[in-house]
């Protein structure tokens, strides 16, 4: 990937390897009643990259993530200004089909959230909603489980309850569940927060695999994870986007004092 300091740039610069701008956040602010959670964010996410949003707790990362597929719609008293574009189209346009948006932009939550049903039914939940037939379901489930590197572990017990899986397996199941929708963008909100190091490693490996096909936006659960997997990163503080850039640059030589304080503070 090319190195560009002009991440807000509008055009192409020099010999930059051009990646498609999959989602663009423009002048986006978000409020919970009177509390402003996001302050005028401008940011773009490119296809086939892993972008990490990092920063201290309550800095607005999750809010931005959930705004990207409008899960924030259900929060009472919430409002926003500015726009978010998916392939150049405003996702807050009232004409958007919300369910279509959520299929194209899938999300994995911080804690594993298997529904109390079988492994198969969990993965098939999304495809079933759009009325897929039984035979195609089987293939979809297998493909999704393979992509999430879970297939080998569960292929013999697809009909057992998903609640019986270990935490790491449950989280990969949740990833598979999203992948079964064949989304274009994958949002992950601290997907490894409750997991042991081995599960974390396997999920991170999975993510790097998935990068080939998806746009991945990740809220990492710590900076080490961010530096391990990210292509680009953005640092959030109190609802502000402080700094954006290629991951190696942000994590080794941040330009902003606050970013540096946070990173070095974290490392000791």
């Amino acid at each position: 990937m090319g190195c560009s300091t002009d991440i807000f740039g509008t055009g192409l610069k020099g010999d930059l390897v051009v990646q498609e701008k999959k989602m663009m956040v423009q002048d986006f602010s978000f409020y919970y009643d009177s509390f402003q959670a996001l302050k005028n964010i401008n940011l773009d996410f490119r296809s086939n990259e892993i972008f990490t949003l990092f920063g201290p707790a309550r800095s607005g990362k999750t809010t931005l993530l959930k705004s990207l597929n409008r899960l924030t719609d259900f929060i009472y008293g919430a409002r926003h200004s500015g726009t978010i574009l998916l392939d150049g189209k405003d996702i807050y346009d009232p004409k958007w089909n919300l369910t279509q948006l959520r299929r194209r932009v899938g999300i994995v939550f911080d804690l594993p959230t298997p529904l109390p049903m079988s492994i198969f039914d969990n993965v098939a939940y999304g495809p079933k909603l759009s009325g897929k037939t039984k035979t195609s379901l089987k293939n979809m489930v297998e493909k999704a489980l393979r992509s999430a590197v879970l297939w080998e572990e569960v292929k013999d017990r697809l009909n057992t309850s998903a609640l019986r899986l270990s935490g790491g397996q449950q989280q990969r199941l949740c990833i598979a569940r999203v992948l079964a929708l064949e989304p274009e963008v994958l949002l992950l909100d601290e997907p490894c927060s409750g997991l042991d190091p081995i599960s974390t490693t396997s999920i991170e490996e999975t993510l790097v695999q998935l990068k080939k096909e998806y746009t991945i936006i990740l809220v990492p659960h710590n900076i080490q994870q961010a530096s391990r997997v990210a292509d680009r990163a953005g640092f959030f503080l109190n609802g502000e986007l402080v700094e954006v850039g290629p991951a190696y640059q942000i994590f080794t030589g941040p330009k902003d004092r606050r970013t540096e304080d946070y990173i070095t503070g974290r490392f000791g």
Binding site: L71, T99, R103
Partner: protein, 280 residues
């Protein structure tokens, strides 16, 4: 020092009084069951359940009243369940705290406190006379449905409330619409709670008398359709006892009634406990 001792004396006296209260509550419950079952259980032979009452209930069994109880309960549950579950789903998933949800909640809370004799008057003038259904299974069943509706709404709401928010978030995030989320992620998981509400309502239907006597009548003739009048076990028991037709038969019917209510209640509690344990 003295006042200190006084405080502990007061506490001991209070403790003793509270113990007495708790024990006497248990004692009364046992006395009621004991009295009815002691006199009634010997009457409960198989033929008591398989024969219809003869000569006003002086002889024979309680087959027709059993059928009456079952018929009315079934009608009530069939009518009230979709209404109650629908209302609860609307309140929990389709509205936030708004004027309309407050009005609906106030209405159901009030409905829960309306005495059964008022339901009886209403059922009589509305179903029996105004809608010309006469004293019938249908009139009685619909009146009962109105009575148990608040219970079903309330238990369904509680069951839906107990479902973690994440289930909804997951379903929506996977592209589910609201209705798909309700039918596939919420209701299946609320089912045990809803079922408990239904069982509790069955218990209430079995014991109800005042509303039924005014809407379903007290006929001992075997019903042939939904428009036939009917007598339930509770009504039969009441008539036997109050008109002094047969104390023996009254005790038998009362014992059968109590056993039925105990049975239904045990199921409801068992379900409820399993449900709570399952949840936590």
């Amino acid at each position: 020092m003295r006042s200190n001792r006084l405080r502990y004396v007061t506490q001991s006296v209070a403790k003793i009084l509270i113990w007495i209260a708790a024990l006497s509550t248990i004692a009364v419950m046992i006395l009621i069951l004991f009295q009815i079952l002691r006199e009634g259980l010997p009457i409960l032979r198989l033929s008591f359940f398989t024969q219809s009452p003869k000569s006003m209930g002086r002889e024979g069994g309680i087959l027709t009243p059993i059928i009456g109880t079952v018929a009315l309960t079934v009608v009530a549950i069939i009518v009230a369940t979709p209404l109650g579950v629908g209302t609860a789903v609307f309140l929990r998933e389709y509205t936030r705290e708004s004027r309309i949800s407050r009005v609906i909640r106030f209405g159901t809370d009030c409905l829960a406190g309306v005495p059964s004799i008022i339901f009886g008057l209403f059922g009589f003038v509305f179903f029996v006379i105004y809608l010309n259904m006469g004293w019938s299974i249908l009139s009685g069943g619909l009146t009962l449905a109105a009575m148990i509706l608040p219970t079903i709404i309330c238990t369904t709401e509680e069951a839906i409330k107990a479902i973690p928010y994440s289930f909804r978030e997951v379903s929506y995030s996977l592209g589910g619409t609201k209705w798909q989320t309700v039918t596939r992620a919420i209701l299946p998981n609320a089912l045990p709670g809803i079922f408990t509400g239904i069982i509790l309502s069955v218990g209430r239907s079995i014991g109800e008398t005042a509303a039924i006597i005014l809407t379903a009548g007290s006929s001992l003739v075997m019903p042939t359709s939904l428009f036939s009048p009917i007598r339930t076990m509770a009504v039969h028991f009441y008539i036997l006892a109050r008109e002094g037709i047969s104390m023996e038969m009254a005790y038998g019917t009362g014992a059968a009634l109590i056993l039925l209510v105990l049975f239904v209640n045990t199921i409801a509690n068992g379900l409820l406990n399993r449900y709570i344990r399952h949840r936590s």
